[in-house]
């Protein structure tokens, strides 16, 4: 059983070149939006906009400029499945199509998936969507096929600045913590890791170095397991069910009484 593997993405050296996005599409032979002929989004340099069934990597662009341009930043981040240690998608998949691999990554078996889309609504990061070709849910496999062949994932291999680093979670964490320390020394106090510890979802096997609040990058502050609602929601419902049954029964009984009292109930129907 190999060690848990994953990604550490240092957004401070991401140049938004999208090589990762394209490398992923090439390796996984994913189609382009409308065959590539679609409209410019106007959302900075982002024209693919989100992760979905045909975009397993997506580079985000955040323009932060004051009116007077006194201070300005252009944040870039290559988004992907977080391969959560406790994965909501996996947890709720009713067909068992989503599995955890020997690399501690999360993979959807397309041949088992029946497209119920439970996982889509469960993923806290909006990673999954149906693939229009297979009509099944799809997402980053962390290049399970390449890993099994001892190769590095296509996206991290293509990354020219090593913004995406692939390796054992252990090594990646030490690397990431060192970088955060360096940034703090250089005065970038906002630098922080996202998903490196187990504060949520038991930790993310694809974690990030950010220099602003998670929301700024379109990431939830504290993603949760969907099943958190299971017990309370069920209890309320059960209670409701009991009440309904009683109400019905009581209603009938009461009616009997009334009728005894009044004799025949009025009959103008």
């Amino acid at each position: 059983m190999p060690e848990p593997m994953g990604f550490y993405t240092d957004t401070t050296v991401c140049i938004g070149c999208k090589a990762c996005e394209v490398a992923c599409k090439e390796w996984n032979q994913l189609p382009a939006t409308d065959g590539g002929r679609h409209e410019m989004s106007g959302d900075s340099y982002d024209n693919t906009r989100r992760l979905d069934g045909i975009h397993w990597r997506h580079v985000k662009f955040v323009e932060q400029f004051s009116q007077d341009r006194e201070n300005g930043r252009w944040l870039m981040m290559s988004d992907v499945c977080k391969h959560c240690v406790r994965a909501p998608c996996l947890e709720v998949c009713p067909t068992g199509a989503i599995i955890r691999t020997e690399f501690d990554t999360v993979v959807i078996q397309s041949d088992a998936c029946n497209g119920c889309r439970m996982c889509i609504s469960a993923c806290p990061f909006g990673v999954i969507d149906l693939n229009p070709v297979s009509d099944t849910a799809q997402k980053c496999t962390l290049c399970y096929d390449r890993l099994q062949a001892g190769l590095e994932p296509a996206c991290s291999k293509a990354c020219p600045t090593d913004s995406i680093r692939f390796g054992t979670i252990r090594e990646l964490k030490t690397m990431a913590e060192a970088r955060v320390r360096q940034l703090h020394e250089l005065g970038e106090s906002r630098a922080r890791l996202y998903g490196a510890d187990d504060k949520f979802l038991g930790g993310l096997n694809s974690f990030y170095l950010l220099v602003d609040e998670p929301e700024v990058y379109g990431l939830p502050r504290s993603p949760k397991m969907p099943t958190r609602n299971l017990i309370p929601a069920s209890l309320f419902s059960v209670a409701g069910a009991v009440v309904l049954a009683m109400l019905g029964a009581v209603g009938l009984r009461k009616q009997r009484m009334d009728e005894h009292a009044v004799g025949r109930g009025e009959d103008d129907v």
């Binding site: 041949d111 119920c116 990058y217 504290s222 993603p223 969907p226 929601a233 309320f236």
Partner: protein, 311 residues
């Protein structure tokens, strides 16, 4: 901003809205029918039978709706048998997994109940008078079917809301009351359906009709309270309803679907069949709209780029 805003929509559209609606009616119709069967008088039996027919048809339709909504409908069975191991597939903590089995079992009881009802209705059909079928009509058997069926019926009426709550989607996962809300609304729509059918088939004995009306009123009151509680528990997410969805919710669901019917039946004294029909139809409409609003308002919200778009 609620963490639920960063998720993607599963594109659960009209098929699912309909499924939630029909399933709810089927489930509660079975309950009401069974109550009449267990505690009612002989005069209530026609209505009870009609309820069981409704339940069975509803269950069947539900199964269909659920299947056609799948990306790969032919793989429906993957939810019951693990496709690559052949082992039975059941996750007690996943509403959809439990729901599929629940629906299946409910359909079974609904079928039995409907069969029993049918053999009572059609003495002329010999096949329906065969031994096994008649066995179903023994009071003991009927009781068992009624009780178990009602349990699964109530499950079917409520789990859909729990299913939505056990996601990370805006509105759905931001409150734990959705199951209860759907359950109550199922009950009111179930009762309303029976009322309409009864009027249509002239099957309802006045007293049973009266009971249905009475039941419906109480449920509507509860539903209204829970709906308000639901909106409160949504907290900041409720701003989603500062939109046309909100208008639909207030006018359609609360106004037309709850308040007006209550007013129409003010004082519980049904003035005329028309009233009865009118209010029942409104309740149905309201129940349907409730599902439309809850489902589609959330469906509209996606993460795009880094911002959040939608209502």
């Amino acid at each position: 901003m609620s963490d639920t805003f960063f998720t993607a929509s599963p594109h659960w559209g009209w098929w699912i809205v309909l499924y939630f609606f029909v399933g709810g009616i089927a489930g509660t119709a079975f309950l009401l029918a069974s109550l009449l069967q267990l505690f009612g008088r002989p005069a209530d039996r026609p209505l009870a039978r009609m309820g069981h027919y409704t339940a069975f048809i509803g269950a069947a339709v539900s199964g269909l709706l659920l299947t056609v909504d799948l990306g790969r409908p032919l793989r429906f069975w993957h939810m019951m048998i693990e496709s690559n191991t052949g082992r039975p597939m059941f996750k007690s903590w996943v509403p959809m997994s439990v729901g599929v089995w629940g629906l299946l079992l409910f359909a079974l009881f609904a079928f039995l109940a409907a069969l029993a009802a049918l053999s009572e209705d059609r003495p002329d059909v010999r096949a329906l008078q065969s031994g096994p079928v008649r066995a179903l009509r023994r009071p003991g058997a009927l009781a068992v079917i009624a009780v178990l069926g009602s349990i699964f019926g109530l499950f079917l009426a409520g789990y859909t809301g729990v299913l939505l709550a056990v996601t990370n989607r805006p509105v759905w996962a931001d409150s734990t009351l959705l199951g209860l809300l759907f359950l109550l609304s199922s009950a009111s729509t179930g009762a309303a359906t029976l009322i309409l059918l009864a009027v249509w088939r002239r099957a309802g004995h006045p007293s049973s009709m009266h009971w249905l009306g009475w039941f419906d009123r109480w449920v509507l009151v509860l539903e209204l309270l829970v709906l308000i509680a639901f909106l409160v528990t949504l907290g900041s997410v409720a701003r989603v309803f500062l939109s046309w969805w909100g208008v639909l919710l207030v006018l359609g669901v609360i106004g037309a679907g709850i308040v007006v019917p209550l007013l129409l039946e003010r004082g519980g004294r049904l003035r005329s069949v028309q009233h009865l029909v009118r209010s029942a139809s409104l309740v149905l409409l309201g129940g349907f709209l409730l599902r439309v609003v809850v489902l589609l308002s959330s469906e509209q919200i996606h993460v795009l780029g880094t911002g959040v778009t939608g209502p």
